[in-house]
Symmetry: C2
């Protein structure tokens, strides 16, 4: 199928924006990028992405991806709203949706372009354009929260996302934010709380795969994730409360030497994970 867009812009050339720029170019689009960081722009230019420290070239594109932190995403689109191409499409990449979608749907309507909330479910514990790869999104879910699931701009966007290897999934902002609190924010909080243990500095020689896997994303971007936790505070705290509650139940069963209760909890957990493993086959 033909790519439904010719020219794409990407604001923010970190891990996500940089990977999007590389993937879109590989899919045959003409791509222009923007980043405030001179070294990032230089790295992008070296990788043959036409990037600049000024955003001017972004506004003449058919589709504009914003790959900035949530607050910066809202600020950027608000600041440049009048310059965005009439009839163009703007898609963000933020890990939270309710607040971003509320703010930008109105701005888009007032300025004659379309905004669709987006969240590519891919990443790495390493950031920056240096970690960007054209295949970062291969097989990854790209969550979309359009203001209206029947809007004509949605299908071409889905086609483009499939073209760069993503699986588009349409949902609504509130459901997105609750699920992401569980699937993404909670694991990051767990990894951080885990390595904060006073036992952690002595783990070498005593640790293997389960330490490695649970601690991996403790290599976190503190500014970004503090913002994500705070902007999704209610859902995040609800998930944290439920997690703490389950840990306390397991801990109390062990403290009370209650083997039956402990085994029952572990059996229930194993059944949940068995379903995952079956679905992945």
């Amino acid at each position: 199928m033909d790519v439904p867009f010719t020219r794409a812009g990407v604001a923010g050339l970190g891990l996500i924006g940089g990977s999007l720029a590389l993937a879109l170019r590989q899919a045959g689009l003409s791509v222009t990028g923007y980043d405030i960081d001179t070294a990032t722009v230089r790295a992008a230019n070296t990788a043959d992405i036409a990037a600049s420290t000024t955003p001017d070239a972004l506004f003449d594109t058919d589709i504009l991806f914003i790959a900035l932190y949530p607050d910066a995403t809202i600020d950027f689109v608000r600041t440049h709203a009048a310059r965005i191409k009439q009839g163009g499409l703007v898609v963000d990449c933020c890990g939270i949706k309710t607040r971003v979608v509320e703010a930008l749907t109105t701005v888009a309507a007032e300025n004659g372009f379309t905004f669709i909330g987006g969240h590519p479910m891919a990443g790495s514990e390493f950031g920056g354009f240096g970690a960007a790869r054209a295949d970062l999104f291969a097989g990854a879910s790209f969550l979309l929260t359009p203001p209206d699931p029947q809007m004509p701009q949605l299908a071409p966007l889905e086609t483009l996302l499939r073209r760069i290897g993503c699986v588009p999934n349409v949902t609504d902002p509130a459901h997105h934010d609750r699920m992401i609190a569980f699937t993404s924010q909670l694991p990051h909080a767990l990894a951080c709380a885990y390595v904060l243990s006073s036992s952690c500095p002595g783990h070498a020689g005593f640790s293997a795969g389960s330490y490695r896997d649970v601690s991996r994303v403790a290599h976190i971007n503190p500014t970004l994730w503090a913002e994500l936790f705070l902007e999704n505070r209610d859902a995040f705290c609800a998930e944290m409360d439920e997690m703490i509650d389950h840990l306390q139940t397991l801990r109390n069963a062990a403290a009370a030497d209650n083997r039956k209760s402990l085994e029952d909890l572990l059996k229930k957990a194993r059944k949940r994970k068995e379903l995952d493993n079956l679905q992945q086959r």
Copy 2:
């Protein structure tokens, strides 16, 4: 270097015992195995391991590995103590050491053989001889808790373990159990508590690497891990308490909209993980 033992026995041919049997045979030893499960013995025989549902052939070996659950390990060695070769070496593979070492050091002294506590730091969320591999221990730490670090039987055991790809690390039972509570038992409890969340059944399409990694070992063996948690109860509960405390601190910082405090906690976690990543290079 020559292999310091000629004949090895392995009691229990699940993931760990099966992998040990395959690795020892690959290292040139004559290996005999024992398991109560007929299908397991058949599978081991098919893989050219001389295995039986009776333990008789184990007792004429130079080194005997016990790869059973903790209670079963103690029972097995106690039951067969009088038949174990005089001057022979017995090594267990349990994930907890204090209780096993206390029980079996005495039995060994009374019956003329040597016991050294062992714990190969390798595994998988899949169990049984069907998941066993000769290279399961490649590069893995093999923790050893000898009754005396100067004892003459230790060096040949370390040579053998290096020969099958392990890195032997000598420690004492109490330190072992506290560290393992953190590096192994806590991640298993976290994975189980995590998938018990009411949000878990709807995660498909919303999840990626961080969900996958933190939930992996929720595919747990409930009987084995309940036993491990209970037999290491004090250290396990201490680690759980510290984890719950750190989670609560993160949760409260988010609930109070305290960005500074949240960022400081995440920065501290990132610094810990940066040290890991540096050490691994």
